[in-house]
Symmetry: C2
Subunit: 349 residues, 2 copies
């Protein structure tokens, strides 16, 4: 297998070999790509009346991922999903991506190919055109930076700072599963790749960790309904994201423990491990579900619209004007403060 | 001095501390920034009739730079300049940037601050609004990825692939100085920071290496004059960039050695070291000057327009329909093939 430092000189040569023709010319044309990979920069068209929404996300080997817990292909997929998720959290539609990969000299070419396969698989699934990037050597480990550019109806981006008193707090899907999947993978023998033999019943937790679903459909639905005030994606745990809305909006949030949706497989895993399932939800992260706020009076119609679209949404709390923190109304009736960070895998920064 | 891992948890906290208010609200508003740093993604306005131009560039410590040859502040400056240069090479106007920085835990906070100071200094100089990014831990060394987004008049981006038979080849400024500056810095005692005591006469070479000038003004002037066919920035040496135009356009280039502009300080340095100055130009890179092609009949008016704008431009060769390579007509009358890569500092990929 050819190693990176045996490949033809220069980033351009070996990116081109794997990316040339990877997305069809007709898809690229339909996406508004005038010039994709292969020049100093990409050139794209733009939709009149739309504003641009841009985000970037970096994943570093040994900091954000380890080869014992995730396959290279899934890692590429997840890096793209995480970047797309930031746009979903603005109610925006992702359109273009740039990918920068750094990898040690002497790495197996196969690893880079697998990463790119995952990046493209995820981009294809959400209709994102990869229009450029950079490939460089690194001193140790792989590092991936994905920049995603999308568009949103002018003036309609869903910001963290727009929560209002009287809003309910909602969450999409069933968060906490990614953290439980990671907990399983980290708890196994560190020398073997545990995703090669996943026990039945854990598949959905592992899947949630390795192949998260950016909630573009939910974000766009919220945008179309025009119901949403604040919105955030859950990259760092429900607690941290609720805190970000609190800090940006200058209001408080009360979460109701009994209302927080817990997936069957998460409950089963937590029971087996003797852990509290709510900890995975509050402090786990990397689910890329959405947390947001909307007027209480519009919650029911929104839940129905979500159901009709094959999505789920639960009301899990209220925006509170009396304090500026995140509180949890526990099942036992106590109201306790929720710290911003209670869980931090790999000491991730 | 506070270290990275003693700082408040999370990327957001410590980016915010250094970036909050760094660019004035009135500048950001005038740039069309609706939502800058502080949400899941940035939101910006767009100019009707313009197309989007996007590029990203990664610089890795020990691969692309070393602390013995460049100050952290200059490193930040240069990373931004390199990314802006890619847009200059499309004839585009840079507008927005995202910055991703990875740094080992335990790093001095001062290093990150210096990097950001340089990034902002360069962004300010070229009117670029930094609207987002990511900050993560790394396993070893600093890694910087800068994404720059700009705009160009629809259909007017200057591509590598547009060279035509009968075009002359031109270059802006005086390339080769950055490589000579690096040659000096690398040739010194590796344990001391040589940029702290630069001999008189070498200042302009070191400056060219540490604080390159992206040729936005030249790119925009070429755009306005409507004279330019192909255009490329010199990030990897004149030879490599000429080869990229050759490969993208499917034509040949003949360079004329005697026409290639050599700065006085480059000649003096090469003479002192017993090296051929032309090697620094052909294989040095990182000057971020522009190389391009235009119809021979429009060269004179373009040179006058450049002079009026305080810029320089030299005709250094011809586009040739007879071969598909880069050739050099030497001072001694011989026509020799120019290899794509003859010089490769640090074994950079």
């Amino acid at each position: 297998m050819k190693a990176v430092d045996e490949m033809p000189h220069g980033e351009f040569d070996y990116i081109r070999a794997w990316t040339s023709g990877r997305q069809s010319p007709s898809f690229l044309r339909a996406s508004g790509v005038i010039q994709g990979i292969g020049d100093d920069a990409a050139v794209t068209d733009w939709t009149p009346g739309m504003q641009m929404v841009i985000s970037c996300d970096t994943m570093v080997e040994e900091i954000h991922f380890k080869t014992v817990t995730i396959k290279d292909r899934d890692c590429g997929y997840k890096a793209m999903a995480a970047a797309i998720s930031d746009l979903a959290a603005m109610g925006a539609n992702p359109k273009f991506a740039l990918v920068s990969v750094s990898m040690p000299k002497g790495s197996e070419e196969r690893r880079l190919q697998d990463m790119y396969s995952g990046l493209y698989e995820c981009a294809d699934r959400w209709g994102v055109a990869i229009v450029g990037g950079d490939t460089t050597a690194s001193v140790s480990g792989i590092s991936l930076t994905v920049t995603v550019i999308g568009e949103v109806e002018a003036g309609k981006a869903l910001l963290r700072s727009s929560a209002k008193v009287g809003d309910v707090v909602f969450v999409t899907g069933f968060p906490g599963r990614s953290a439980a999947g990671l907990d399983f993978l980290l708890g196994q023998n560190k020398d073997s790749r545990q995703w090669e033999a996943i026990p039945p019943g854990l598949t959905r937790l592992i899947e949630a960790h390795c192949r998260p679903v950016p909630q573009v459909k939910a974000g766009r639905l919220l945008q179309e309904l025009g119901v949403c005030h604040a919105l955030n994606d859950i990259s760092d745990g429900l607690a941290s994201e609720a805190w970000e809305i609190v800090e940006a909006s200058g209001l408080g949030i009360d979460l109701i423990e009994d209302r927080i949706p817990l997936a069957e497989e998460l409950l089963a895993y937590a029971r087996q491990k003797g852990k509290d399932p709510i900890d995975f939800v509050l402090y786990g992260g990397e689910d890329y579900e959405l947390i947001g706020t909307m007027p209480a009076g519009r919650a029911l119609e929104t839940q129905i619209a979500f159901k009709d679209a094959g999505l789920t949404m639960h009301i899990i709390g209220y925006v509170n004007g009396d304090h500026r923190s995140v509180m949890l109304a526990q099942s036992n009736g106590a109201l306790v403060p929720v710290p911003k960070h209670g869980y931090n895998h790999f000491g991730k920064e």
